[in-house]
Amino acid sequence: MAASRVRPLPVTGYTNLNALGSTRAEILDALAAGRSGLAPPSEEFGFTTMVGEVRTELPGLTGELAPWSTRIASMAGKLAADLEEPLRLARKRWRPERIGVFLGTSTGGAVSTERAYRHFVAEGALPADYNFQRQHTFSSLLHVVGELTGARGPAWMVSTACTSSGKPLATAQRLIAADIIDAAIVGGMDTLCALTVLGFSALQAIAAQPCRPFCKERSGISLGEGGALALVEREGEARVLIEGVGETSDAYHISAPHPQGRGALGAMEAAMAQAGCAADEVDHINAHGTGTQLNDGAEAQAIATLFGDRVPVVSTKGYTGHTLGAAAAIECLFAAYAIEEGWIPPSLNSEPFDSDMGIQLNTTLLKGDFKRVLSNSFAFGGNNVSVLLRAP
């Protein structure tokens, strides 16, 4: 059997939800104005930090889906509803069992289990309405999205921490190439929970003030929440094309990046190799750019090795916070905005820039013809994904 060629995959619709808002206008307005969505958290953690909470009203799930109605499932429901128009057209083109659902999450229903466990500690029993299967397991999101979209094809969750929602794009490419599906709903979602805030604090990775990606004075991450869905199809009217996806492992450390960004470099190279494009054909990079010393240093080395300081680099974590398992999908859509709108936003709070980085960090609204854009995401476990998007 000869290997199947992975072809550029049309993205025919998408929807985004984060601390900046849930509509294209809300999100673009904030990015253009350099307005952050970070604010003090609604829950007290015993230390100062800033987070990117979703303030958009999230309608609870109703009818037969009511028992699945958690915050993350409501996010999934909102995103699925916002994707309905392109989905309606896709359902006319493809049979429901040929439309897959591949989503990513890191924490999934952990916030529900966290609340249930706190009740358990206080009261000696789990809350009467807690159901591990419907509220904790990742597959509950598959059920909700499948029911709301009518997609009946293969469905699974990817959970590789902060790369979770980028890898489903590659899954869709492969399964379309293998003639298992014709279209897929891809992306992911994650909610803020105390466990992740306290966990990253234990790792001394949380910034007290809004995160400052690639800044000389960067001191850690700001956490966020949100989600994004995209509809990809074998054929269709593309808003952007997924031209390449690179997936690598650092094989170095469970929670620290390879110091020279070895895995990050490999992921970007693999994405470009799949697309058959050279480094000088990439016009912009949406960096992982979390704002920690180690992550930004490693990523900058990898970018500088491939691109020098030629390509404008932006981290959008200063707008949304680090949305963990949702970050890759949300930021792929920021990359799509750059292609469609012809401008990129400034990296927030990044000055004074760490000039040792050797990259061109963009700190102003920059207009240009961005035909090819890379979006990077890196994760615990040394998991890396880089997505190359191209104008149709």
């Binding site: 466990y117 959970s159 003639d179 298992i180 234990a202 476990g381």
Partner: protein, 267 residues
Amino acid sequence: MSSRANDPSRVGIAGYGLWMPGYADVATWLSGTPDDEVVKPLGLALDSKNRRRASQLGRSLSDALTAAMTQADVDVSTTPTVVGSAIGEAVTLVGLLSQIWGAAEPASPAAFSVSVHNAAAGVISISNKNQGFSSALSADCDTPATSLLEAVGLVATTGAPVAVVCGDEPVPTDLVPADVGWQLQAGAMVLVPLDGEHSCLAQLKVTLGGAPDLSPAAFSDEAQARNPQAGMIDLITAVARGQRGVLRLDRGAGRGYCAEITPAPGS
């Protein structure tokens, strides 16, 4: 519909392995007589630092995967690996919750680092020095089938072998009644392209729906049959016994994914 010969979703199975309490390998499992000394997975292929980090789930996945990759004679440092688990590191997660809200202690940074679903995929890739593809999936009782499908997509697009390993630890009893829980279980396979260059034991095609005519494996313990990965053990058992036919991969608890298996000539 693609013809059988050119169907890119049809692959070969070149190796398999498993780990369950009492059964550290497929041969013991097929014998039907458990080894009472097999109580905990050893994770011997993990380097010492990552073996300490790994949960029981991570060690069992490593043990099953190592057996499958050894049988298939593939390079552990380059072969892409798909890890499937329904609940992943839920035991570690509940340990953290207990630490923070039960004992009112700060979260352990070490435990937090390995509480992610892909912790096992991470420690395996580090130990194997594998800088290539690694992923971690979840789809409840459909995890075995969907992990296999993810691997089929990789085989179809790369033309190279791919390892799949699925496992689940018991659900923490703080969260579910003990009578709906299960025991630790892990099963692994190496899939290869049907290109004439890779030898295989059987051919495999995974479909959503089908008409099963093969029976699942017989578990002496009902709790083993409830594990979301039981379908993977069923598939390994059928392939190891040289069976031909269609096997349901979810024991009736999922969406009805099936595996069509055909023994390779001479296997």
